[in-house]
Each structure stands twice: as structure tokens, then as C-alpha cells.
């Protein structure tokens, strides 16, 4: 058995060799028994049986080879028969070549699989990454003539984000005066869609009828809105997204004309938008019409809409904006002192994300090229044996064209298989990215684009073609070398006469491997730092007690009379807080507009604090409106002054610690007045609350600043915007159904949103760092796998070339362990060099990463130990098979092959 292992032909699978051996041994056993029965001794009988059989080793080889051919053919023969029947004689030769290619791949499933998987990974990853960068950075919005489409804003202060929402009077005036080629507005509203088992909250926008038409998008079913729709007294209508139509109405083709209930209001469905329509944002599922010409009173009281316009292409942009400013000024005093500015429909990525994106894309392209190179290298690792194979076939009379065609077919099949697999992988990655990237951080995610995120065909084509070229080149080369006399001469210049690799080729391969491992180490260390940062963020002190607090949004449908009935509304709010506070398990209840971590409104502009200090400009101060019990519910301590009391007036305010310290450097905030030109009144500071922090930001300086304004129990009214009820639970929190039931007992018309845990909302904020850490770790692991496969293919190639040398050394008495060590040493030297280079790069990278990580830990001992461990594992994985091949080098067979 031992002798046999050395002689086993390389292509014979182990189970076939075992079956052949069993058959031979069974024959010898029977013959021995018969000879013993004839009177021979056991030993003599066995000796004779073996001698009668003939050359046992040769038999093993011959039978094994025949059986391997039979096994490989099994899967292909029926394909051949049916195609042959259909194709006729003309295709027979081509078909035979294809079948031969299939058999060849079948006999070496390991390397074929490795090449296919490496290439598929490269294609999928690159195509997905290209798609993401393309939709986020390069591709314009998917609407008609996108360059002329803009969002129109009227900021009061240069660069301020205030003035995003315009009064409807201005929009109306622009429309009537023809300031823009087309203009429309949109408001977000609470869209609670009823009809299924549970009411579902969907993104809903009220839009002026011409808005969708202005974008130049056709509905999938029915129509969009027509002029005059949405006017008071006219029938309420709605357009649905394809997503809602599919999920909630099972793509019912007779949906048009059906009446559905949205936020308590019956509406008739007039259209369904196509699946790829994302407007004004990716979460929008319902569109309701608003007639700007005859707006109902309620809209005038509320925030103005976001305004979208199409600029006339023939008039200079500055002239258009100046004229629009004059028209606005004429229509509404609000426009006094404001400029008209425009911005693109999508804010797009900020500078940092764009840079990160480009860096990641470049990394992916690098990994792609390396994977292609490794695949080709792995195929070329068989160059020597394949050349011999082709040379033999050529000597037996196979034409050159035929041999090239066979090689082409075999490797094209690999390339095509890889591109099919890669396309699937890419589509899967995109689908995964869309569901798993956090929706809360809109700027960074796939929700920041209005483009549909589908795998890009051009990227798939380009990467597949590159992969195909790499495999076909590596596959056809041996056939070309074997059949071309010039090639043989050319080959001699590359490879010296001892048939070993040239020095420069070996150096290049090594340098590439060192670069690969260095890249992997850099990424691993980076991923380690991001992971540590993520853990730090997770453990960050939030400044409040988010555990055991649940929140639920309540609002009133805007057609309910209580909206106008102030005293009724006040009573409703008071009842609501009392009722919910009395629920079993609830220890405190509060009502607020905005709840941590999200304020509903923000202030920006210049604020005045301490006397004698200049006004300080702020981008964003979170504005919470809270009842008395708010600070108890959230466990936010008041560190100076006091909390709200029943007798406090509307002008009372409590500031967050950081805001108070910025505005009053001498610590005299309590008792002073807070003034700002952005606010209509000044506020009396009665207390300073401990700073609350989010987990969204990786930098403490980015945390928002807070101010809490007081809403007296008799001053709090509900509106269509609603309010948030926060409940602190002492024991178990009440169920969503119980809450809903109790709220509806107070008033059945109240719209109830989802019941959420505050701790879960904070956990969601970790989405971005989690995604960053996951992404970096995935890339690092892919880079590591790339290195392992590259090391494997390089060593496989090197060992293949050096087999004669290894065989001679084995013949001269070198032990298998010595031979294995030679290969291992080669792998380790590459890994160590890579580790050193990667370490340096990582050290440089970590200082750069410090800018984007929270309390950024520089790579510590744990990170390094983990990285070294992973690199060692990858090195061993890459070295294992080639080292084993070297250890099994059989001198006799190798010398005979020579």
C-alpha cells in the first residue's frame, strides 16, 4: 500500500485508487486460496498468485487511469449524446473538445473550484462596489433632464440651513409668475396605512400635483395627480409605491379605484409608481396631492414645503434666482433679507464619505487585479505538466488549432462559470448592503441616492471580461508554448535550462505576495481599530438612562375637530399622560415633541448669552419641548438650577451643560436670559441639565447641543405632527397592544405609531460604526484570503517547478520533513516581510484613523496578537498543500518522468 501511494498517478482520485486496490487484492486472495487447495503452502501460493498477475504497480496505474476517465465521463456523456443528436457532424469535433474540457475540469475539481471562487469573489465584489460608488457619487438623479432640477431654498444667513422650508405663498407666487419652468412643493406627513392586520407606518409626502410630472417619471399603473386635485372638498386621492402595492396589496392589478385608509382618512388609489422611483427620498411609499393654489388652512399654519423647481435652460441661472427673489419679496414679507439659492436634489455624500468611498473602491480594484493575477498564476502553476500533455498530444497528431481550441474551451468555461457566480454574489452583496446598512444615517448609506440600486451591467461585463482574459490567457499559454517552435525559443529566455523559474520572475512573484500580505495586515489593523472604536462607542456614557424607557408617537388626523378645539385638545393631552402613567408597570410618563436621541426641531443662527460676550453662531441646537416629568423619565440630572415646575411660564428654558458652558463661560447661565435673532422671544434659563450624548458621532465635539423648552400641561396641544409619549417602566413594560388599547380608550381617533424602546434607538445609532467595522473586517478577511490563495498558487507553482530537484534531494536521503521545511521557510519569509511592511503602513494608517474613531485606540497588543495569529493561519493554509506535495516527492517517478 505504501509503495502504491508513491506511484498513484496525480489525476486519480483517492476513492478510485482504493477500489482498484480492493479488486486486485480480492483477486490475489482467491488465487492464493485455490493454490493452497491444490497443496501449496500459504507463502508459496501468495508468491505465485502475485507473479501470475504481472506488474502490480503498472496494473494499478492503468486501471486507475481508465476508471478515472470513466468517472469523469459519467456526468458529461449524456450531455454529449443529446447535443450530438441535435447538432450533426459539423459540431462533433467542437463538441468533443468541449466534452474533453469538461472532463479535464472534472478530474481536477480542486483547482478549478479555487480559481472559479477567487474570480467570482473578485467579480462580485468589484461590480457591487462599483455600483455603490456609481449611484452615490457619479450617476445623476434618474429624472428627465436632471441638471436643471434643483431644490430651492431661501436662507437668511449665508451658509445656514435655516430657510429650507418656504411659505406656500411664495411657491404660489413663483408658479403664477412663471419664475421657473416648473415649480412644486412637498411636505413629509405621518402616513399610517390601514388595511392589513396591523396599521403600518410608511413614508408619506404631500406633493403639489405637477411635481411628479415635472420629474418626467411615468407611473407603473394609473396616473399621477392632475391640477386641482387635493383641493378642499375634492375627493382624497393617493398614489402608492410599487413596494407598498406589492407588500400590502399583493400586487393586486385591480388596485386602481380602491379606497384605502391613510392616517385615518379614506383615500382612493389613482396610481402606482414604478419600483425604481425614489422621491423625495428612498423611504417614500405614499404620495398625497396638495393644491398650492387653494391650500387648506392647516398647511399655512404648519411648516412650509420643500420646494423643487426646474430651471429654464435658456436663461442664466443668476437672473432666474434674482427674479424669483423679487417675486418672493412681493408675495410675502418673510422673504425680506433672504436670498434665493439652489442645491441639487440629493445632498450626496459629504467630503469625508466621498474620500472614504473612493479609497475603498481603489482597494477593491486592487484586490480584483490581485485575485485575477492569482487565478492566472494558479493555472500557470500547472504549466509544466500541461505543456508536456499538449506536446504529447501534438506528437500523436493533434492539430495545433484543435489543441488551442481545447485549452480555450476549458478555460473559457472556468471564466464564464466565475462570472455567473460573481454576478449572483454581487447582486447578493447589494441586497445585503441595502437591508443591513443603517437607515438612520441617511448621508452615508444607499438611501442617500434617488437611483435604484441594481447591480451595474457595465461593471459586471468589464470585470467578467477581465477575469475571462486572465483565465483564457493562463490556459491557452501552455498549449501555445507546446505547439509553437518560436515559443519554445522564447520560453528559453524566460526559463533557464535547468527548467527552474528565472530569478526575476521569482522576485516579482515574491514582491507581489509581500505587497498582498502587507495590504491585508494594514486592513486587519485598521479593522481592529474600528472594532475597538465600535466597542468604545457601545460603552459610551449617554448622559441618560435609556434602559426601560419606551416611546410611542401619537398624532391626530388633521380633519378631526379637536385640532381646532383648543380646550378639548388640552384635556385630551392631559388625559393621555395620566392614563398612560397609571398603566401597570409604568412609574413615570412624559409628553414631548422630540425625544432622545432625536429632537424634532433644531435651531441654528447666532445666540447671545453672557453679557459682554459676542454672539456665537450655532449650526444645530436640538430643541425639545417637554412636560415637567420628562427629566425623571429619562433620568437626566439637573446639575444647576432646577427642573420645570407647574407654575413656570412658556419662556422658561433648561439648557444642556455644554451649550450653557459655551454661552456663559463664567458659569452664570441660571437666571440669565437666552436670546437669538432666530427666535421670536427670549428665554429665561432656569436650569442646566447634564449633557446627553449620542452614539451617532465618533467625535464628542459633534454631539448636538440641547435646549428644553417648557410646555405647560394646559399649553400642550396635539397636531398632525403629534407628540411623543415616553414611559419609564419599573417592572415589565406594557405591551404595544395594551398601550394602543389604552390610547384608543382616551380617544379612538388618535393615530398611534410604533412602540419603541429608547435603548433600541440608541443601539441603531451604532449602525454606522458597526457597518464601518464590519466592512473593514470583511475587506481584511477577503484580503487575507486573497493572500492565502496567492501564496498557495505561487508555492504550488514553485514546488511544481522544483519537483525534480526535490526528488533528487529525496533520493540523496533528505527526509520528507526537510523537504516540507524548505517550502514552509519560503512561505514564512514572505509572510514575515509582509507583516513588517504592513505593520509600518498600519502604524501610519492608525494615526489617520484616529480622526474618525471614537477615543481612538492605537493598535494595541490584542489587535497585534490577533493580526499575527490570522496572518500565521493564512500562511499555514497557503503553505500546507504545496509543502505536502513536496514531502511526497517520489524520486523514482520524478526521475522516470525526466
Amino acid at each position: 500500500m505504501k509503495a502504491f501511494r508513491g506511484r498513484r498517478p496525480g489525476d486519480v482520485p483517492r476513492e478510485i485508487a482504493r477500489a482498484v486496490e480492493n479488486e486486485i487484492q480480492e483477486h490475489l486472495r482467491r488465487r492464493t486460496e485455490d493454490l493452497v487447495a491444490e497443496g501449496l503452502s500459504e507463502a508459496e501460493a501468495r508468491r505465485r498468485a502475485i507473479s501470475e498477475f504481472g506488474d502490480l504497480d503498472a496494473a494499478r496505474c492503468e486501471l486507475g487511469a481508465i476508471d478515472a476517465r470513466i468517472a469523469a465521463r459519467g456526468a458529461w456523456s449524456h450531455v454529449g449524446k443529446s447535443v450530438r443528436r441535435a447538432g450533426g457532424a459539423r459540431f462533433t469535433a467542437l463538441l468533443d473538445d468541449a466534452l474533453l474540457a469538461g472532463r479535464r475540469l472534472h478530474t481536477r475539481p480542486g483547482s478549478a473550484l479555487l480559481v472559479t471562487v477567487m474570480l467570482a469573489m473578485a467579480i462580485g465584489l468589484t461590480a457591487a462596489m462599483f455600483t455603490i460608488s456609481d449611484v452615490l457619487i457619479f450617476r445623476p438623479v434618474p429624472f428627465h433632464d436632471p441638471d436643471e432640477l434643483v431644490v430651492v431654498e431661501m436662507p437668511a444667513v449665508e451658509g445656514s440651513s435655516a430657510g429650507v422650508n418656504l411659505p406656500l405663498t411664495v411657491v404660489e407666487a413663483w408658479r403664477d409668475s412663471g419664475s421657473f419652468e416648473a415649480v412644486g412643493g412637498a411636505f413629509p406627513v405621518a402616513g399610517i396605512l390601514e388595511g392589513g392586520a396591523e396599521p403600518v407606518r410608511r413614508g408619506a409626502w404631500i406633493v403639489t400635483p405637477g411635481l411628479v410630472a415635472m420629474l418626467g417619471v411615468r407611473p407603473l399603473l394609473g396616473r399621477t395627480f392632475v391640477e386641482g386635485e387635493g383641493r378642499a372638498g375634492s375627493e382624497e386621492t393617493v398614489v402608492l409605491s410599487e413596494r407598498v402595492w406589492r407588500a400590502e396589496f399583493s400586487s393586486d392589478p385591480s388596485i386602481l379605484g380602491r379606497v384605502v385608509e391613510i392616517s385615518g382618512q379614506p383615500m382612493r388609489v389613482v396610481g402606482v409608481m414604478p419600483a425604481e422611483f425614489r422621491f423625495p427620498n428612498a423611504f417614500t411609499d405614499l404620495w398625497v396631492p396638495l393644491d398650492a393654489a387653494a391650500p387648506r388652512d392647516r398647511h399655512r399654519e404648519l411648516l412650509g414645503p420643500l420646494v423643487y423647481a426646474r430651471l429654464p435652460a435658456t436663461i442664466p441661472r443668476d437672473d432666474v434666482l434674482e427674479r424669483a427673489r423679487l417675486v418672493a419679496l412681493d408675495a410675502d414679507d418673510w422673504a425680506d433679507g433672504r436670498r434665493v439659492t439652489t442645491r441639487p436634489l440629493v445632498r450626496g455624500l459629504d467630503e469625508y464619505s466621498t474620500r472614504a468611498m473612493v479609497a475603498v473602491s481603489a482597494g477593491v480594484v486592487l484586490v480584483f487585479l490581485v485575485l485575477c493575477f492569482n487565478s492566472a498564476n494558479l493555472l500557470l502553476g500547472r504549466l509544466a505538466s500541461r505543456r508536456r500533455e499538449f506536446a504529447t498530444a501534438s506528437a500523436l497528431g493533434a492539430s495545433r488549432g484543435r489543441l488551442l481550441r481545447q485549452a480555450l474551451l476549458e478555460h473559457a468555461a472556468l471564466g464564464i462559470g466565475a462570472s455567473v457566480l460573481g454576478t449572483g454574489l454581487g447582486a447578493g452583496l447589494l441586497a445585503w448592503a441595502q437591508v443591513s446598512l443603517p437607515a438612520t444615517v441617511e448621508r452615508f448609506t444607499l438611501n442617500a441616492t434617488l437611483n435604484a440600486v441594481d447591480l451595474d451591467g457595465r461593471a459586471v461585463l468589464a470585470t467578467s471580461l477581465t477575469g475571462l482574459v486572465a483565465t483564457v490567457f493562463a490556459g491557452v499559454l501552455p498549449a501555445w508554448l507546446a505547439t509553437s517552435p518560436q515559443a519554445a525559443m522564447w520560453l528559453r529566455t524566460l526559463v533557464d535550462r535547468t527548467d527552474t523559474e528565472s530569478r526575476s520572475a521569482r522576485l516579482f512573484a515574491r514582491a507581489l505576495l509581500v505587497a498582498q500580505i502587507a495590504f491585508a495586515v494594514t486592513l486587519l489593523v485598521g479593522a481592529g481599530v474600528l472594532l475597538r472604536s465600535f466597542v468604545n462607542l457601545m460603552q459610551r456614557d449617554l448622559g441618560l438612562d435609556a434602559e426601560n424607557v419606551i416611546v410611542v408617537d401619537v398624532s391626530l388626523p388633521d380633519h378631526v375637530e379637536t385640532f381646532q378645539d383648543r380646550s378639548g385638545n388640552v384635556a385630551l393631552v392631559r388625559n393621555l399622560v395620566e392614563e398612560l402613567g397609571n398603566l401597570a408597570g409604568v412609574s413615570a410618563a412624559a409628553l414631548s415633541v422630540g425625544s432622545p436621541p432625536w429632537a424634532k426641531f433644531w435651531w441654528s443662527g447666532e445666540f447671545f448669552g453672557q453679557d459682554g460676550l459676542d454672539a456665537i453662531s450655532f449650526d444645530r441646537i436640538s430643541d425639545y419641548r417637554v412636560t415637567q416629568t420628562f427629566f425623571d423619565v429619562y433620568g437626566i440630572p439637573i446639575i444647576e438650577g432646577r427642573a420645570f415646575r407647574a407654575g413656570d411660564g412658556d419662556e422658561s428654558v433648561i439648557l444642556g451643560e455644554r451649550l450653557a458652558r459655551i454661552l456663559w463661560t463664567d458659569g452664570t447661565a441660571v437666571g440669565s436670559r437666552l436670546r437669538s435673532e432666530s427666535m421670536t422671544q427670549s428665554y429665561q434659563v432656569i436650569g442646566v441639565a447634564r449633557e446627553i450624548r449620542t452614539r451617532e458621532s465618533t467625535n464628542p465635539a459633534d454631539d448636538s447641543l440641547e435646549m428644553y423648552r417648557f410646555y405647560k400641561p394646559d399649553g400642550f396641544t396635539l397636531s398632525v405632527f403629534g407628540a411623543t409619549i415616553s414611559l419609564r417602566c419599573s417592572a415589565g413594560c406594557p405591551s404595544a397592544a395594551a398601550l394602543r388599547q389604552r390610547i384608543h380608550a382616551v380617544n379612538p381617533r388618535l393615530l398611534v405609531g410604533d412602540v419603541e424602546r429608547v435603548s433600541a434607538a440608541y443601539a441603531e445609532l451604532l449602525g454606522q460604526p458597526r457597518a464601518a467595522a464590519t466592512l473593514a473586517t470583511s475587506f481584511a478577511v477577503i484580503a487575507l484570503l486573497t493572500f492565502a490563495s496567492g501564496l498557495f498558487s505561487a508555492l504550488h507553482y514553485a514546488v511544481g517547478r522544483r519537483l525534480p530537484e526535490l526528488g533528487i534531494r529525496a533520493a540523496l536521503g533528505a527526509s520528507a520533513a526537510t523537504l516540507g521545511r524548505t517550502v514552509l521557510r519560503e512561505g514564512l519569509s514572505v509572510a514575515l516581510a509582509g507583516l513588517a511592511c504592513g505593520g509600518l503602513a498600519a502604524w501610519w494608517l492608525s494615526s489617520w484613523l484616529a480622526a474618525i474613531t471614537y477615543e481612538a485606540p492605537s493598535p494595541d497588543a490584542i489587535t497585534w496578537i490577533a493580526v499575527i495569529g490570522m496572518v500565521s493561519a493564512a500562511t499555514l493554509a497557503g503553505v500546507w498543500a504545496p509543502a505536502r506535495r513536496a514531502m511526497r516527492a517520489d524520486p523514482l517517478r520524478l526521475l522516470r518522468d525526466q
Binding site: 477500489a19 480492493n22 479488486e23 486486485i24 480480492e26 483477486h27 486472495r29 482467491r30 488465487r31 501470475e52 498477475f53 504481472g54 506488474d55 502490480l56 503498472a58 496494473a59 492503468e62 486501471l63 481508465i66 476508471d67 476517465r69 470513466i70 465521463r73
Partner: protein, 110 residues
């Protein structure tokens, strides 16, 4: 194989197929059958016999499967297929006419 009684090219295939006409057999049984029916005149090398059996399998003339033999040990059995019967018929016809021709040519010699 012993040179003095080596088989003519193609003869072994016919013998192997013929051995399987009466039903599936394992390799050793095929070897014994050939030995017995030719009264030991034709000594077939075991290695050559197995190569012929496996080639027949590759050509689709026989199908091979593992089973239990008469003494309850695992053995590989070979069974004639329709293609094998057809090949046997063609080849034996050709062999007979060849043998007849040879016999005619050699008639009269002692």
C-alpha cells in the same frame, strides 16, 4: 503474459465478453472460466485481463458494480450490456470468418 501463448490482438476482448454471456461475473471468475474452457491452452495474464475488463467498461460494453460473491466477500461484478452483446456478435462473426480463412489457407499442412 507468457510470450509463447500470447493472444492475438483483440482476442482477449472477445473472450472477456463471451465469459459474461451467462451472467455477471467477477474478474477472478472470468479468468478461471477462460482457463477452463480453453483447457489451459490460452494463458491470459491477470493484469491484461483486468485492463480488458476495465476498457470494456469504458467502452460501455459491460457495466461494473460492487456486490457480494458466493463466499460472501465484496467483489466487483461485470455485466454485459446491450452494446457489449452487439460488439460480441460483430467481433465473433469477424473472428470466425478469419479463423475459417486461416484454416482453409493452412489445409494440407501437417
Amino acid at each position: 503474459m507468457r510470450d509463447e501463448s500470447s493472444l492475438l490482438q483483440g482476442t482477449l476482448d472477445i473472450l472477456v465478453l463471451r465469459a459474461l454471456v451467462d451472467g455477471p461475473q467477477h474478474g477472478y471468475a472470468v479468468a478461471r472460466w477462460i482457463h477452463e474452457v480453453t483447457d489451459g491452452e490460452l494463458t491470459v495474464g491477470d493484469r491484461a485481463l483486468y485492463v480488458a475488463l476495465h476498457r470494456a467498461d469504458e467502452r460501455g460494453w459491460v457495466s461494473a458494480s460492487w456486490g457480494k460473491s458466493e463466499n460472501n466477500r465484496r467483489a466487483r461484478f461485470y455485466e454485459l450490456t446491450a452494446a457489449g452483446r452487439h460488439a460480441l456478435a460483430t467481433r465473433s462473426r469477424r473472428w470466425k470468418s478469419y479463423a475459417t480463412a486461416m484454416a482453409k489457407a493452412l489445409e494440407g499442412l501437417t
